[in-house]
């Protein structure tokens, strides 16, 4: 096929349509594979287009034909292990034991965060909502601390224990509590935290501070200030201590840039809780500095 503007345009349209179709996949799959899938699809379309119209048509039909089956499989797998891991016992048999799954606190929905800030901007102190968000973040911080320290809370007896030197997938992790007897492969443990944004190496002190302070504050506004500080935290490079990235993506559902955009878009009112405006301004300043530094590094890399 003689490649020209029309072919390139057609390829671009096909890729665009495919990217739209990726919206049918579960969020976690999109986050993990979405950009890669779009890239592979684009390469496939380009290669097929070079070989002729028929090849391109066959390629597109082949891609479309397999989508429904893949979607069903992916969604079925997602529902089976939604937010949880399936324990694989030592004998290799997979058994779904609801009460013995390793559980981690999920991220909060964007809608809840928007609602909390919107009410606060109007001077409404919704104690119930603030308590729910605060407690959810407390649980989330606890999960992140455990995962980052390579610890697990036994789903059978509740004992917290470290994974030590266990690193191979087939190694067996056993609860050390006498008489408990819960065990799982390291693969099961690893699968339980994979793709859940639970590693908080750069914000460990912030998580510890939040947990310790949250248990002590009483008033809703004080709780909101704590929540606000955590959501506006920046992660630091564990080795150099250098400020690196906004950590909001650990706490709110969605890709990190979208979470950052959400936090940027939240407006504060005259009646907002004292301290929120200052925290946000500091966060915006740091964000600007970080973006400038990234841009500078990219420019330097490009040269």
């Amino acid at each position: 096929m003689k490649r020209g503007v029309k072919t390139d345009d057609l390829c671009a349209v096909l890729v665009c349509l495919y990217e739209r179709m990726l919206g049918l996949y579960p969020r976690s799959v999109r986050d993990e594979f979405g950009s890669e899938m779009a890239w592979v699809f684009a390469r496939g379309v380009e290669d097929a287009a070079r070989k002729g119209w028929r090849r391109l048509l066959a390629h597109c039909i082949g891609e479309l034909r397999d989508v429904p089956v893949a979607l069903i499989e992916v969604w079925a797998r997602q529902c089976e292990g939604k937010g949880l891991a399936v324990n694989t016992l030592c004998d290799g048999a997979s058994t779904l034991q609801e009460y013995e799954r390793i559980r981690w606190a999920p991220r909060l929905s964007q809608a809840v965060i928007v609602q909390m800030y919107a009410q606060d901007a109007q001077g409404i102190v919704d104690k119930g909502l603030i308590d729910r968000v605060g407690a959810a973040l407390d649980a989330r911080a606890e999960s992140m601390l455990l995962v980052t320290r390579r610890q697990i809370c036994c789903p059978r007896c509740g004992m917290v224990f470290g994974l030590g030197d266990v690193r191979r997938d087939e190694d067996v992790v056993c609860c050390p509590e006498q008489g408990c007897g819960w065990e799982a492969t390291f693969q099961t443990c690893r699968n339980s935290w994979r793709r859940r944004h639970l590693f908080g190496g750069g914000i460990l002190p912030l998580l510890e501070a939040y947990r310790s302070e949250y248990s002590q504050v009483g008033s809703p506004r004080a709780k909101l200030q704590l929540i606000d500080r955590l959501l506006h935290a920046f992660g630091r490079d564990p080795r150099t201590g250098e400020i690196r990235w906004p950590s909001v993506g650990h706490f709110i559902e969605g890709k990190s840039p979208k979470c950052v955009a959400l936090m940027e878009s939240l407006s504060l009112g005259q009646d907002s809780t004292p301290g929120l405006r200052e925290t946000k301004q500091r966060w915006l300043d740091m964000l600007r500095l970080q973006r400038e530094a990234t841009l500078e590094a990219e420019t330097r890399g490009g040269v």
């Binding site: 495919y18 799959v29 993990e32 594979f33 950009s35 890669e36 899938m37 890239w39 592979v40 699809f41 390469r43 496939g44 082949g62 891609e63 034909r65 397999d66 989508v67 089956v69 893949a70 979607l71 499989e73 992916v74 797998r77 292990g81 694989t88 030592c90 004998d91 290799g92 048999a93 191979r168 997938d169 087939e170 190694d171 067996v172 492969t185 693969q187 690893r190 699968n191 890399g301």
Partner: protein, 119 residues
């Protein structure tokens, strides 16, 4: 130490077998796997993007493959940073078990066909 029994993963689907075979020599990114599967199957199997990533997701969940750091590039350039996949120890054992199973099956079939020819 007792690990998962490789036989518990058998039999593998044809697509899964080819993906694992493709990763046997070393790490590959998604598009390279797809091309390699086409070559290995003599053009008979062309994995669509959705089938490929559905299989990769499942194999990652089963820990038969693992994701490794992005391939280092000789020169910085545009395009998506490639994520590469490698066969895990368990994946290699499963692949070996599947090959053994197929060999046994083929041997049995040959024997039966040979006997049939004799009578």
């Amino acid at each position: 130490m007792t690990g998962p029994d490789p036989k518990a993963f058998l039999p593998l689907t044809e697509a899964t077998l080819y993906v694992l075979l493709s990763l046997a020599p070393g790490r590959k990114h998604g598009y390279a796997i797809r091309q390699d599967v086409e070559t290995l199957s003599d053009g008979r199997i062309t994995l669509s993007t959705s089938t490929l990533y559905s299989a990769l997701g499942r194999l990652l969940d089963q820990a038969l493959i693992a994701r490794v750091a992005n391939e280092p590039r000789a020169r910085p350039g545009p395009g998506l940073p490639r994520k590469a996949y490698v066969l895990s120890d368990l994946g290699r054992r499963v692949l070996q078990a599947e090959v053994n199973r197929m060999q046994t099956l083929a041997a049995t079939a040959r024997l039966r066909l040979g006997q049939d020819l004799l009578f």
